[in-house]
Structures are given as structure tokens and as C-alpha cells.
């Protein structure tokens, strides 16, 4: 290994290309530094610093956004910067910002250190941004584990709540298991792709492009196919696809509400992006991928809808409904195998899901008491009367999740359906109809609780429910922006539609 090549390698480490991630990391570090140097009474301002920093980054990212972003590699192929990556940076920054806002609500109800929470949040966000841009298994695994370990901590963050720790432990063990499975799959792929006895073998077997080339040359290698399904299993855990979705309700219920939102939106979004990347890499194995993903999509959709049907804890409900959303997105992934427009549809769906989910989680954080795991539908009784604003935001959010026009969720579903229809996934579409119909039931039950029931039981006494948090200005602003965005994106897709459909 000569110096010149090493220099070339080092020169390719284009740190400017990952400026947002770097800045985010610096911001995270700055938080820790600030906590040390600032007097204790100013510590309560640190979340605001974090949020403003993220907001600034978001603005920076949006301003620098160009639709015609040229695809380029950096870090010797560890990362690929594509237009989708740019979009997803926005997605994760937005998610982090919103999680941060919700956290201010939820953390206020606990006496726990704040700064570490935001620090970890920012690091995880940066890792997610890198994760979706990674083009190399080492990079992918490292970023993924950073995200996962960060999430282990965040899920168990409310350590004074026993249920939270239980959720953390469950997430930890199942997450570690899925990581192991994923890793073994990576190892197998690495081993096979680098095997000099096989045609098309490659020296950089961890690189996804090389791997793709190798797989294209060996379309029916046993070990490769085993590796692929093991990797898929690991990713399926992240996106909560059947049958790796079983952890979802327990963990979602136990985790702090903002972390649940983070899991539901950002982690799932990252998972889907990884899945898209992998699906592209594994595309020579479509014979395996297509049926597996199709069945997975259908089963995920049905299981999520059915599981949520009789659920009355709203966090579990959001979890299970999130599973059915994963089914819709998987449908898009399957369709993406043959229809490039499906990718745009997935992105759009993710954004719609982000807006709607955070609207709902925001309301949940405000409605929840100090015991974060105890959030029943019945606690929403009379919400419309006490706080019409929250009820409206909730209704818009849930409506969008249910796919009701003219909200963004509908357009997302419409695009996915169009893509699926173009790809000829008629069976999945039939399942999707059933899923939508069932989901309308439980979303509507929730809305019904908020709007139709008065909050008093039949004998006139108010049902016991935790006290609701008054809506602060920031929370109100963010929630109304989310609701507005959900409506706007349903009626006018404008720039986002063009970003996502110009292909």
C-alpha cells in the first residue's frame, strides 16, 4: 500500500459533503460543553439552543437544496450523496426538530437531565442522515448501530418509570438480536462476493455497488441468498415489518412519547431508505426479493390493522397502526422494483406520515400525564370541548394517517396505489383496501373519543384521566404548522411533488 494511493484515499474524504452531519455533531458536542461552562440556571435554555441549531441547519439545508442534485460519491464510496439523500436530510432534521419540541413537553413532566437527551438525539439524527447515504456495509452497520444504541438509551431515558426500562430492555435485546442477524447476513454477503472462485468477485465486497455487480453475475448463489434474507430480517426489524414487528407495541408504549415518535417516524424512515438502497443492490435477486417483500407487505398491513383494531392504549395503537403504514410503504418498495415512480411515492408518503404522526404525537404529549405509558383513548374524552385546537390537530393528523382526502396521507396512499397498480400488485391492493377500511375504524374510534364523548360516564361522573398540559406558544405554533402542512400537502403538492416526481 503506497503512500500515493493512501493520499488519494485520504483526499477523497470530502468532509464538506457531510457538512450538515458534521455541524449536527458539533452542535451535540457544543451542548455538552455549554452545560459545563454555563451556570446551572441557564441549563434550561440548552434545549432551545439545540432546537434553534437544528432549525438553522434545516433552513440551511432547504436553502441549499437544488432539485438537480448530481449524484456523487465521497469517502471512497462509503457515502453516496443523491437527491434522495438531500430530501432525507431534510426529513431527519425536521423529525429531530419536532422530537425536540415534543420532548420539551414530555421532559418537563420528569425530573431528568435534559442536555444528554438532546445530545443523543442530535447524534442519532446525524447517524441517520449518514445511514441513508451510506453505500458501504461497514458505514451502514456503524451508522445503524449508532442509531440503534442511541435509541436504546432514548427509549429507556425515563428511567424512573419501570415500564420505560422494561421497554428499553425489550428493545435492546430484540434490537441486538436483529443486529446480529443483520451482521451475519452482511458477513455472508461479504464472504461470497469476495470469493475469488466465483465469477464477478470483487475486492471491495462491502461496497454496495460492487456487491450489486457481483450479485448480477451470480443470480442464484445459495449463501448470497441466505445473506440477503438475513440482512432483510435485520432491516425488517427496523421498519417493523411482519414477522419482526412484534416488539413495536410494547416498546412504543414504554418509551417516552417523543422517542416513540422518533422511532415511529425517523427510525422507520431510515429503515425504509436502507431497504430501498438494499433492494436496489439486491435487485438481481428479485426472484427472492419480490415474493418475500410482497408477502411481508401484505402480512404487515393486515397484522398492523387488525392489531390496532381493538387497542385502547393510544401509544400501542400508534405503534400498530405504524405497522400497517409500514405495510403500505413496503408495497411501495415492492412496486419500486419495477416502477421508478414508486420511490417518489415512498418519499412523499414518508413526509406525509411525518407531518401527521408528529401532529398526533404532539397532541399525545400534551394530553399525557407524567406516566407516559398510560395513555388510553378514554383520556381523550371531551378533548374537543376543552381544547378544540388540540382536537382539530388530532383529527387532521389521524385523518391524514387514515388516508382521508384532502389530507397529505391520502395523496401518499394514492401515489403508492398508483405505483402498485402500475407494478401489477393487485393482490396487495386488495389487502390494502381491507387495511384501509379496518384502519378507518380505529382512527375514527379515537376521533370519536375526542369529539363525541363528553368525558363523563353514564352516571355523570368525569372519568379519571391525567391532567392535560396547557398548550404553550411554541407547541401551538408547531402543531398548527403541522396541521396546516398536512392539509396543504394534500391539496397542493407543489415543490415537494416536483422534487419527488421528477424522474
Amino acid at each position: 500500500m503506497d503512500i500515493a494511493s493512501l493520499q488519494t484515499l485520504a483526499a477523497n474524504n470530502d468532509w464538506l459533503a457531510i457538512m450538515p452531519e458534521l455541524l449536527l455533531g458539533c452542535l451535540a458536542l457544543a451542548l455538552l460543553v455549554l452545560e459545563i461552562i454555563l451556570p446551572a440556571k441557564l441549563h434550561s435554555r440548552l434545549p432551545a439552543v439545540a432546537l434553534l441549531g437544528v432549525l438553522a441547519l434545516l433552513v440551511f439545508q432547504l436553502l441549499g437544496f437544488t432539485a438537480g442534485f448530481a449524484e456523487q460519491e465521497s469517502f471512497n464510496g462509503l457515502l453516496v450523496h443523491s437527491r434522495e439523500g438531500q430530501v432525507m436530510r431534510v426529513f431527519f432534521l425536521l423529525a429531530a426538530l419536532l422530537v425536540g419540541v415534543i420532548s420539551t413537553i414530555s421532559l418537563a413532566k420528569q425530573k431528568l437531565p435534559h442536555t444528554e437527551f438532546y445530545h443523543i438525539l442530535l447524534v442519532v439524527t446525524a447517524a441517520m442522515m449518514l445511514l441513508v447515504q451510506s453505500n458501504h456495509f461497514v458505514m451502514l452497520f456503524v451508522a445503524l448501530e449508532t442509531v440503534t444504541i442511541g435509541l436504546y438509551i432514548l427509549v429507556s431515558y425515563f428511567r424512573s418509570r419501570p415500564l420505560t426500562l422494561e421497554a428499553g430492555l425489550k428493545y435492546l435485546i430484540m434490537g441486538a438480536l436483529s443486529s446480529s442477524i443483520l451482521l451475519f447476513g452482511i458477513v455472508l454477503l461479504y464472504g461470497v462476493a469476495g470469493n475469488p472462485e466465483l465469477p464477478g468477485h470483487t475486492a471491495s465486497a462491502m461496497n454496495l455497488d460492487s456487491l450489486h455487480a457481483f450479485l448480477a453475475a451470480n443470480r442464484h448463489n445459495f449463501l448470497a441468498s441466505i445473506g440477503i434474507v438475513l440482512v432483510l430480517s435485520g432491516v425488517a426489524f427496523k421498519i417493523a415489518a411482519f414477522p419482526f414487528q412484534i416488539w413495536v407495541p410494547d416498546v412504543y408504549q414504554g418509551a417516552p412519547t417523543p422517542v416513540t415518535a422518533f422511532l415511529a417516524v425517523a427510525s422507520k424512515g431510515a429503515g425504509f431508505l436502507v431497504l430501498l438502497v438494499l433492494a436496489r443492490t439486491f435487485s438481481p435477486y428479485a426472484w427472492l426479493l419480490a415474493p418475500v417483500l410482497t408477502l411481508m407487505a401484505g402480512a404487515t398491513l393486515l397484522f398492523g390493522s387488525l392489531g390496532a383494531l381493538t387497542q385502547h392504549n393510544v401509544k400501542r395503537l400508534m405503534g400498530l397502526s405504524g405497522v400497517s403504514h409500514a405495510g403500505f410503504l413496503l408495497m411501495g418498495v415492492v412496486a419500486a422494483g419495477t416502477q421508478s415512480m414508486a420511490i417518489g411515492a415512498i418519499y412523499f408518503y414518508l413526509f406525509a406520515y411525518l407531518l401527521a404522526s408528529f401532529a398526533v404525537f404532539g397532541v399525545m404529549a400534551l394530553v399525557a400525564g407524567p406516566d407516559d405509558a398510560d395513555q388510553e383513548i378514554s383520556h381523550y374524552a371531551g378533548l374537543a370541548k376543552d381544547s378544540p385546537f388540540l382536537a382539530l390537530v388530532l383529527a387532521i393528523g389521524l385523518g391524514s394517517l387514515a388516508g382521508i382526502p384532502p389530507l397529505a396521507g391520502f395523496m401518499g396512499k394514492l401515489f403508492i396505489f398508483i405505483a402498485a397498480f402500475k407494478a401489477g400488485l393487485y393482490g396487495l391492493l386488495a389487502v390494502a383496501i381491507v387495511g384501509v377500511v379496518i384502519s378507518s375504524y380505529y382512527y375514527f374510534s379515537w376521533i370519536r373519543a375526542a369529539f363525541f364523548s363528553s368525558g363523563t360516564s353514564s352516571d355523570g361522573e368525569a372519568t379519571a384521566r391525567p391532567a392535560r398540559t396547557p398548550v404553550s406558544f411554541t407547541a401551538g405554533l408547531v402543531l398548527s404548522l403541522l396541521a396546516f402542512g398536512t392539509v396543504l400537502l394534500g391539496l397542493y403538492q407543489g415543490v415537494l411533488g416536483q422534487w419527488l416526481n421528477t424522474r
Binding site: M341, L392, G399, I404, P405, P406, F410, L414, F415, F417, I418, F421, K422, L429, I433, V436, V437, S440, Y441, F444, S445, I447, R448, F451, F452, G490, L491, Y492, Q493, G494, V495, L496, G497, Q498, N501, T502, R503
Partner: protein, 519 residues
Amino acid sequence: MSNLPFDPLLLAIAIPLAVAVAIACGLPKRWSIRLAYVGFAAPALMALHAWFYFAGQTQVHGYAYLTNYSTGLDGIHGLGISLKLGLNGISLPLFVLAGLVGLAAGLYAIQSTAERLKIYLMLLLVMQAGLMGVFASVDVVFFYLFHELALIPTFIMIGIWGGRDRSYAAMKVTIYLTAGAMLSLIGLIALYVKSGAPSFDLITLRQIIAARPLGETVQNNIFALLMFGFGILVSLWPLHTWAPLGYGQAPSSAAMLHAGVLKKFGLYGLIQIALPLLPHGAAHWSHTLAALAAVGNVLIVGFITLAQRDLKQVIGYSSVMHMGYAFLGIACYSVLGAGGVVLLMVAHGLSVALLFLLATSIFHRTHTFELTEMGGLAQKTPVLAAFFVAATFASIGLPGFANFWGELTIFVALWQYSHCLTVIAISGVVISAVYGLRAAAKVFFGPPTEAFARVAAQHPPSDLNWREKVPALILLAALLFIGFWPKSLSTSLDATLHAVYAAPTSAGPTAGGPAVSGK
């Protein structure tokens, strides 16, 4: 383009929506009500303008007032979704219907004593905007989207202001209608994808399909999706059980708008989209559709209506039954049949809205919907009785009311399709007369029942007041106007249907019967 300085169709949608938003933003009650008048009147005015000046409009691709608003998805690479508004001869009558029924329902709601009136009005305005949008949309996605926009308030209104069983009813209606909407959505997507059209707008779809008709199997499958999807929305037997329940529980204005206008969405979709674009599919499924409609909707539901003891149930079931005629008209696949369906839709919309309005007015006086507990109301409220009898006769197809034209043309068209079904359908006319007159008699005529006498002693019933009378008069006047001058709708309807149905006639449906009767 219109020859008005503004786009009336957009205003008809935007004004109620804007008022709804304004109310949602916390307008004080007094101003909310004042603005609500504007919100309901504007669409009606636009509709009336369109009705009387339609002939003078320049038409582009058969559409008057055609305008296009981008959504960002209509570029070269987009899916071709844009807010395209316009009216043709098929949508004009329904646009008018939506405007008039919306106005009546709105006026009736404004004067009602509903709790939380502001939210009620807001929801109703959203519904009104959706309804105007449904019939003004040339783009299929927006056509669907506006339907759902109008549908959501229905659920909420049933859930909050509904009757005893509101919870169950709201749930059932939601699930049924979601299922129907989803099926039809898939059908519409299928149409878009299979035709290979670059855009969802009907004009393009028609051109593309005219140039390159879809294969037979494809047509059959898509038509099935649309037929059953729309069928659920329009309460095709045996997918109808949501309708009587929902209408029974819905508050009056919601029932008026839903049963009167929104339900017509499915039929409108079949006539405007499914029949012209999928002639083979229509031919393939017509027998099933006709059999279900004739035996199920007309006969079975007709008899079931006879067994009802609740006034709203009678109206609800009768509405299901009349939808049977509409399906029969569609099954004929002829200009006459489809035109008859459009006429019937308008007429039925007006009459059923009137009936629901009057049923609520009756309830305010009798405090019950049970027919066995009423009687002799006409002695106290002759005007109400007169309105109700008129509405009943309208709904059972008495000439002079708009309904007659719809039923007659459908029967005439149906004879050409099937003699046997025509006989079944016409027998429905007798059945509807039986339950209609029986209900009217039970409510109004004869001596008062004991139960009603007790109620009347406590709350002496007063006759129809002006706030109830004005909306009722709007509807009744429209029924009579169309009844006496059907040409006001049929001329443009005929022209459009000929143009639309003429294009893909390779399946062999005929445009009409032998020449002329009266000339």
C-alpha cells in the same frame, strides 16, 4: 373560460370553504351566522347562473367554464393531477342540485337550534364546498377528493348530532363508505394506469381511450371495481344497509346533503366516467347490475320499506329503493337511460332533501319518528301537511314534479333493455305509492293518536314557520320548475350525452330508440 370576470366554479367551492375556515378560526357566533348565509348562498347563485347561462358559454372539449389550477403534479413528469374545473351537460344538473340543496340545508341549519351551532355550520360548509367540487371537477382525483371532503363532515355530524344510535351508525357509515370509496379509487387508478393517459383529467382520458380503447377483460374488471365501489356509496342492494341506519341517525341537514346530493356521486361517476369509457365493461356487468337493482333495490327494499314504522326509516329505505331505478337506467347503457338517471338524480336529490327536512320539522312537533304514535297532525299544521304530501307525491313520481321525468325516461329506456325488468321496476311505482301515502296518512290524517294528543297537549304544535318554509320552498319550487320545464336541464344533457356516448360505441349500445313520438 367563463364570460364572467371571475371563475364561478372556483368561487362556489372556495367561498364556503373560506367561510368554514373563518368560523374555525374563532369568528364570533353572530358573524359566523351572517357569513354562513354568504357561504351557502354563493354556490347556489353560481349554480343558478350556470343553469341559465350555460348555453351561452363557450365550450372547450364540451366543458363550459373550463379552468385549470396547478397542484405541482401536472408537469411533464408529474402524474397529471391538477384542479381542473368545468361543467358539461351531465355535471350541470348535479351542480345545480348541489347548489340548491346546499342552500336549503344551510338555511335550515342556520335556523336550527343545534348545540354548538358554529361547528355544525362549519362542517356543513365544508360539505357544501366538497359537493360543489365533486361536480365541478374535471380531474378524476379531485372528483374523488372532493367527495371525501364532503363525506368526512357527514361522519362527524352523525357522530355528534345524530340520534340514539349515533355511535354505531357513524361507525357503520364510515366503514361502508370507506370501503366503497377505496374500491372506486382503485378502479379510477386502474382506469388511469391501464389507459396510459398522462393525466387524470377526464378530457384527456376520453381522448386517449377513444383513440385506443381498453381491452375487454380490463374493461370488465375496472367496471366491476367502479360498479361495486360506487354501488356501496349509492347503496346498491345488498350493500345498502348503512343507508337507512345512517339517514335515520343523521341530523337533518347532513341527511339532506348526503342523501340528496353526496350519494349521487357514485351514479355520477358511473355516468360521467365508467359508462363512456368502459362500454364493454358496462355491457358485461349490466345484467348483474340490473338484476341486483331491480330485484334487490326495487322489489325487496320496496317491500322492506312497507314494513317500516319509523318515518326516517321509511324515507331512508325509499331512497335506497329509488337508487334502484337509477342503477337500472345505468344498466340500459343508452343516452336515454343515462339521461333519465341524471334527471332522476336531480329530482330525487331535491325530493329526498325536502322529505328529510320535513321529517325533522315533523319531529319538532311530535317528538317522535314512530309512525304509530302520530296522526292528525294536519289539523294543527296544514301547511306542513301540504308540503309533506307534495314531497311524498314528488318522490313517488307524480307528473309535474321532476321525479316523474327521471322515472319515465328510465322506464322507457329500460323496456328496450329488458321487458321483464321494466315490469318489475314499474311495479315499484305501486309499492312506493303504498308506503308513501301510508306514511303521509299516518302522520297527518285521521284523528290524533293518544300518544300524539299527549305530546300536543304539552307542546302545542305550530305550523311551519318561515325559517322552515323558505328552504322547503326552494326545494319544492325547483322540483316543480324542472317538473314543468324539463328542457331546462335536458337540452344540454342530451347534447353532452350524445357527444360523450357517441365516441366509443364499438360495443354496440344504441344511442336511443326509434325516432320521435310527437312529430
